[in-house]
Amino acid sequence: MLIHDHSHPGRRAAAQAPLHLANCDDLPKALRRKTRPALPEVSELDAVRHYTRLSQKNFSIDTHFYPLGSCTMKYNPRACNSLASLPGFLARHPAAPESHSQGVMACLFDLQEMLKAITGMHAVSLAPAAGAQGELAGVLMIRAYHDARGDHARREVLVPDAAHGTNPASAIMAGFEVREIPTGPDGDVDVEALSQALGPQTAGIMLTNPSTVGVFDRNIQVIAKKVHAAGGLLYYDGANLNAILGKVRPGDMGFDVIHMNLHKTFSTPHGGGGPGAGPVGVAKHLEPYLPIPLVAHEGEGPGEKWVWQDEHSRPETIGRLTAFGGNIGILLRAYIYARLLGLEGMQRVGEYATLNANYLLKRLSAAGFQPAYPQRRASHEFIITLKREAKDHGITTMDFAKRLLDYGFHAPTTYFPLLVPECLLIEPTETESKEALDAFVETMIAIREEAVQNPEMLRTAPHSLPVKRLDDVRAARHLDLAYNSETNNATAI
């Protein structure tokens, strides 16, 4: 039932609004609304009960192992939420003067410093609101760099075929053209193809390393050298930073600009799809272009203070990406996480994320599942392909994934990256225990056995969730995007 289905004309959560309706007759009638919007009319208990029960229909980190590849579904420490929600932080207006902002600004400055240290970059801006916006900021800075040098011919960005879809989409938004570079059979970028693609039109390359196929590109130094030699810049997509956090620094690999997904690597909440935070780090030559605002530190001792930097102090900035300073509430959560770990703890993140992934890969391989890159180490994640199971038993990876839900496991990422058929991209993260990984392996084996004995059980899965398998095709063909109170049914669009 929708909250709208609980609606009853005239019912209200009376404690939640002013006691009286103030007179607004001074507002011109022509500008006034003629009818009230059709919002649900419910009591406070109705709403609390509805959303409490609705929440129980979700899988989440707090309830389930969630090995969703490329999403780094690690434990979200509860302290991050409660401390970022201290009244003083929640009450701060984004335009509050620096006199009333030193507490928040000190946190943001520390976070900038920690991110610089852990990534090996020269400077960091926390402004981008999410990973994709960080990407956009990154390519906009690449563009600004070439433009500032009058190097206007550089209009092409190279993107490996295994890259996240946001990479090419972001490059397009920055006015670039995109050329795909193939991945070699061992999962590394095809260096030969890359060499051929480089030229005076090359603005740069966008790379994830480890890549989305779950391996560390061993040729990264060669790639960096070639791209730089061709006059291009290297962009690091930080989506997979968890794999190497504290072990390898993008700055040391030769990247000129990076973004980080704090909701992945720094454990801010995924929140059912967001919010994220996508800080960008740059080498020295790109610093002038960083998106605003940034926080700078001045003085020491009693005269110590933190100050904003905006378009006045940074005239070459690519500009503002949201109205205010990005998702500061999320940055605070990341900062709290960072302090709980310290840089020391961050180094362990990469280590144990990698340990968990390699252990799971080994156990699944030993159980007969087919790795996409059997000769490679896993990074923080790895791919298995169910090509054989699909062929032998007439089931699909999707069937397998849906059946996992019945067993109380969120499914890994399915059908991504696109270049591996019938694939599952599996990322356990460092916060899961050996027992959880072992239970997952046992379940994978059990489901494969079911695929042999009773493939229909997979094809019609899930069986134990609030709904049975949903019809995605119908959803797109018969669009129903909003409740329509008049027909007591949805608006057909």
């Binding site: 434990y75 059912g272 310290g342 709904v467």
Partner: protein, 462 residues
């Protein structure tokens, strides 16, 4: 090891299974010269793990440092009452720690919330469809402009008329995001008396050339109400799409974008509405995370960027919810996507949906009316002080630009010293408005708050 459950025995067993001698060995494909050695150069306190107890103490001290001042600042972020239930529910682990609902059957909580949110936003804006949120109001406006340019079949010119009465931070954001996509943003000056956008200013800005879209802020950055009906009709007469940039609380009182313009015309109503969802249950929280919303007519739905939840049926024919129209999105379309956007503001959508459920239409109207009435009272009290008067003469919703008899920065500082945030200095963005102050009173401001402001301002000016 905070948040890492491995005991030494676990690690040994796992390495034995893998056949590696050490964790270090797992990184053996990485060129040794790339392996980070000691990371140093930072204060020791940033190097070491700190127990939760110590971090809590630090954060409590820093939160207290920012003083929880009495706030008359608006300018795009508004202090509203948020029912306690909103965040107690939204931060339940099942909402807080779930991801994008890629596995729909295991994510009906999130998906149904998205669908309910979309339903509420279409009800508020009077449009047919809504996405499941964007980053914030300013980036939503950028996406709206891109969408309008893509969608306008009659006008191929990538020009968008952007009134100067749109919040300057919003205009900066739009510029940052769209500047390299061949879009021209044409600034339309505001009327110096009314603070609104006039047809003649539009005519002049358009200069007879076609344009794809007109942005109409309601209320605008000065708090002033625009003549949305005539502006909408004018734009439609020029075959342009209309983008309403609206405050969702104000919509409880004001005509919804879907009804702007002469309704008898077949093109009545704005085509797109967007804005900042922060007033719907998000704390001020330094400016984010907030929530951008984006709604449109039926005709434009396939140009909507961002995630969209749809209702469908399951194998048994029972209703359920799923992400839909994914063919628009970057993870499918890659470089051909409607936008690079991936993440939405799911947690904030959850909060906004619960918030709107708790208020309902009548509650939201009471909130909006109280904002307006309190702002009227505030203006009346402040204008008792000699030398203070409204800059513009047209009706406002819950903000008003006042002229001050002394430099704005001096006043702001004096009041900040009394723990009062007096307002926003628009003079930084509009040189011609130097010496003015944008003030705001929401439903959270009491008579005694207003008196305290007036008295402090009186002292500062005496």
């Amino acid at each position: 090891m905070p948040f890492i459950p491995h005991t030494p025995e676990d690690t040994s067993e796992m390495l034995a299974t893998i056949g590696a001698a050490s964790i270090e060995e797992l990184f053996d494909e990485i060129p040794p010269e790339l392996r980070a050695g000691d990371i140093s150069g930072l204060a020791q306190s940033l190097m070491r793990p700190e127990p939760e107890m110590a971090v809590a103490r630090l954060m409590q001290e820093r939160a207290r440092a920012d003083g929880e001042p009495l706030c008359f600042l608006g300018a795009g972020a508004y202090e509203h009452h948020i029912p306690a239930a909103v965040w107690q529910l939204a931060t339940r682990g099942e909402f807080y720690s779930a991801y994008t609902p890629y596995q729909a059957e295991a994510s009906q909580g999130t998906l149904q919330v998205l669908y309910e949110f979309q339903s509420m936003m279409t009800a508020l804006t009077g449009l047919d469809a809504s996405n499941a949120s964007l980053y914030d109001g300013a980036s939503a406006l950028a996406e709206a402009a891109l969408m309008a340019v893509r969608a306008n079949r009659k006008v191929k010119d990538k020009r968008v008329l952007m009134p100067a009465s749109v919040h300057p931070f919003y205009r900066q954001t739009v510029r940052s995001i769209v500047r390299h996509q061949g879009i021209e943003l044409v600034e339309v000056p505001y009327d110096p008396t009314g603070g609104h956008t006039t047809i003649s200013a539009l005519e002049q800005a358009a200069a007879g050339k076609p344009f794809a879209a007109l942005v109409i802020p309601q209320p605008n950055v000065f708090g002033v109400l625009e003549e949305v009906d005539s502006l909408t009709d004018w734009a439609h007469q020029h075959n342009a799409l209309v983008i309403g940039l609206v405050n969702p609380v104000a919509l409880a009182l004001l005509s919804p974008p879907g009804e702007w313009g002469t309704q008898s015309e077949k093109s009545g109503g704005a085509d797109i509405a967007c804005g900042e969802g922060q007033p719907l249950g998000m704390p001020l929280a330094s400016g984010g995370p907030y929530l951008g919303f984006l709604c449109c007519t039926q005709a434009l739905v396939r140009q909507l960027p961002g995630r969209i939840a749809g209702k469908t049926l399951d194998l048994d024919g029972n209703p359920g919810y799923t992400l839909t129209l994914q063919a628009r999105e970057q993870h499918i379309r890659r470089s051909k996507a409607t936008s690079n956007i991936c993440t939405n503001q799911g947690l904030l959508v959850t909060a906004a949906t619960i918030h709107l459920s708790l208020l309902g239409a009548e509650g939201l109207e009471r909130v909006a009316a109280a904002c307006h009435a309190n702002t009227r009272a505030l203006i009346a009290r402040l204008c008792e002080i000699p030398g203070i008067e409204p800059v513009f003469d047209r009706p406002v919703f819950h903000e008003q630009l006042l002229r001050l008899p002394r430099p704005t920065e001096d006043i702001l500082k004096a009041l900040a010293a009394e723990n009062i945030l007096a307002g926003f200095n628009l003079g930084r963005s509009y040189p011609e408005l130097d010496g003015s102050l944008l003030v705001c009173a929401t439903e959270t401001r009491t008579e005694s708050d207003i008196d305290r402001f007036r008295d402090a301002l009186g002292r500062a000016l005496s």
